[in-house]
């Protein structure tokens, strides 16, 4: 259903933009709040040294 008053292109853009920002925040916490990637880089680095 389209509800003209609410589903303006501006509001839709605003909603999608905020959703991406929040998704980015979640991703940021996933990647940086634990040493997952540092561990991966260390493993790769160690293997490269051998």
């Amino acid at each position: 259903m389209r509800i003209p008053e609410y589903q303006t292109p501006e509001l839709r853009r605003k909603n999608v933009r905020l959703a991406w920002i929040l998704g980015g925040l979640a991703l940021f916490f996933l990647v940086t709040s634990f040493p997952f990637w540092t561990g991966i880089f260390r493993i790769v680095g160690n293997q490269a040294m051998q």
């Binding site: 259903m1 509800i3 008053e5 609410y6 998704g23 979640a26 916490f29 709040s33 634990f34």
Partner: protein
């Protein structure tokens, strides 16, 4: 208010679709809310059945029904099913149903993502249940005997069922984060004109804070279990001391998620209480602004005190002191919320319909659970209570009244709005009393068991603990079976009963009560003006 003209095609889509397509492809917040609530109800019974099996086993010392690994697997599954399958989806169901109606929005901001958030859940639940089932098949490996905390190194050694569990957690996490994004966007962008942030209904505020908490902590759990998966299959040593890793790291990652998770479970119910207590006290909520502040304080402090679950790992004196003081500090904003509820009731024209009975029950019993929480926050005391049945009693007193009874209060409060029928008040009260009495008989004796030294997560125990375990198990049967009454009341109310008015409760306030009971398939297609 503006007027709108709908084309033929748009008007056609105002009717609810028919058949299975209505549910599978639904983008309607009310239908998705119903799906969430139905899913939560089913999982409540699955998780409840596992709890009753646990209590049957503990009815007497010695091994009665379950072998130790199966018992531990039931403990693991009971927790995960109740937390991720029952409480969180039920709270999300309430959010889906009520938030758009409360803020004067026609639907959630991202309806198709809403559909995706829900339909990931059955897939995740299937994975979760498979993690329980696969060890029964040849080559299925060992049972998950770790408890819901899935600490390594034990969780690295468990069979393939742990992989099912890890993927289930990934799926549950994705579902939660997507739902949270949707709720935040809805609350920030879709409010009716004139509804400023500090005019938002308290249930919406609690969900706004909860959704932010979910976005901040669920990815950390996802990261932790991903590292676990890598340790299990790809030769990494994140949690393996022999390879330079540290098993305690996983504990930190888990509890960085796990402790805020407690507030994720609690806050939506606090939101429900903030509507139920004023409605049945016939007074506005006492201290709206302070409630909002307290909630933000609880969420903020709650995110930085996770290691009080890990006092016994051997942290430095400075670290344990910090975590102890931080944890005890949380009792200040939580106490403020409780005092606000009591002040709302003070000199109100109170009546005690089922939602209000649950609300008063929460204020009393959740406070009791909070007090035993303060005991556990104190480091030297916790060294004694750690891993004992006292902890089991404590967190059930926090989570059953604090989260589940709040959801029950919400279901009884809004059931007339959803179905258009009043529920049977006598049966509602019968459910409340059997539920609350059963709950207290089950969990109150467990405090004494813990203080006397009975460890948690054991299939067998010393005969000196028999009496309290017998009482606890009898209580658990009453408690568990009482939920069949809930099921009966809900089905009876859906099928018929006294017609509910738009404002089903005399003292109820808010935009949702301006709508018909049951509301039309699409509501607030024209935004209400808030003065």
């Amino acid at each position: 208010m503006s007027t709108t003209t709908l084309t033929h095609d748009e008007a056609h889509h105002h009717e609810a679709p028919k058949g299975w397509r209505r549910w599978l492809f639904s983008t309607n917040h009310k239908d998705i809310g119903t799906l969430y609530l139905l899913f939560a109800l089913i999982m409540l019974f699955v998780g409840g059945a596992s709890a009753m099996l646990i209590r049957m086993e503990l009815f007497q010392p010695g091994i009665q029904l379950l072998d130790p690994d199966l018992y531990n697997n039931l403990v693991t599954n009971h927790a995960l099913i109740m937390i991720f399958g029952a409480v969180m989806p039920a709270a999300a169901g309430l959010a889906n149903w009520m938030i758009p109606m409360m803020i004067g929005a026609p639907d959630m901001a991202l309806p198709r993502m809403n559909n995706l958030s829900f339909w990931i859940l059955p897939a995740a639940a299937t994975m979760l249940l498979l993690s329980f089932v696969v060890p029964f098949f040849p080559g299925g490996g060992t049972q998950i005997n770790t408890g819901w905390t899935i600490y390594p190194p034990l969780s690295v050694q468990v069979g393939m069922s742990m992989d099912f569990l890890i993927f289930a957690i990934h799926l549950l996490g994705i579902s939660s984060v997507l739902a949270s994004i949707n709720i935040i966007v809805t609350l920030l962008n879709m409010r009716a004109p004139g509804m400023k942030m500090l005019k938002m209904p308290m249930f919406c505020w609690t969900w706004l804070v909860t959704a932010f908490l979910l976005i901040l902590v669920v990815p950390v759990l996802a990261g932790g279990v991903t590292m676990l998966l890598f340790d299990r299959h790809f030769g990494t040593s994140f949690f393996d001391a022999a390879g330079g890793g540290d098993p305690v790291l996983f504990q930190h990652l888990f509890w960085f998620f796990g402790h805020p998770e407690v507030y994720i479970l609690l806050l939506p119910s606090i939101g429900v209480l903030s509507h139920v207590i004023p409605a049945f006290s016939r007074k506005p909520l006492f201290g709206y602004n302070s409630m909002v502040g307290a909630m933000i304080a609880v969420a903020t402090i709650g995110m930085v005190v996770w290691a009080h679950h890990q006092y016994t790992i051997g942290m430095s004196l400075g670290a344990v002191t910090y975590f102890m003081i931080g944890t005890i500090l949380i009792s200040i904003p939580v106490g403020l919320m409780i005092f606000n509820f009591i002040a709302t009731m003070w000199r109100g024209a109170m009546t005690f319909e089922t939602p209000m009975l649950f609300a008063v029950g929460i204020v009393l019993m959740f406070t009791f659970g909070g007090l035993s929480g303060v005991m556990l926050a104190v480091v030297p005391a916790d060294m004694q209570y750690h891993d004992s049945m006292f902890v089991v009693a404590h967190f059930h007193y926090v989570l059953m009244p604090g989260a589940v009874f709040g959801l029950f209060a919400g279901v009884f409060y809004w059931l007339p709005k959803w179905t258009g029928h009043m529920y049977d008040e006598k049966l509602g009260k019968l459910f409340f009393w059997t539920n609350v009495i059963g709950f207290n008989i089950t969990f109150f004796p467990q405090h004494f068991l813990g203080l006397a030294g009975m460890p948690r997560r054991i299939v067998d125990y010393n005969v000196m603990f028999t009496e309290f375990n017998v009482i606890s198990s009898v209580g658990a049967m009453i408690f568990g079976l009482s939920h069949l009454l809930l099921l009966y009341i809900v089905i009876k109310t859906i099928r018929g009963g006294k017609k509910a008015e738009s404002r089903a409760w005399e003292g109820a306030k808010g935009l949702e009560w301006e709508l018909d009971s049951p509301p039309a398939f699409h509501t607030w297609t024209v935004a209400p003006q808030i003065k």
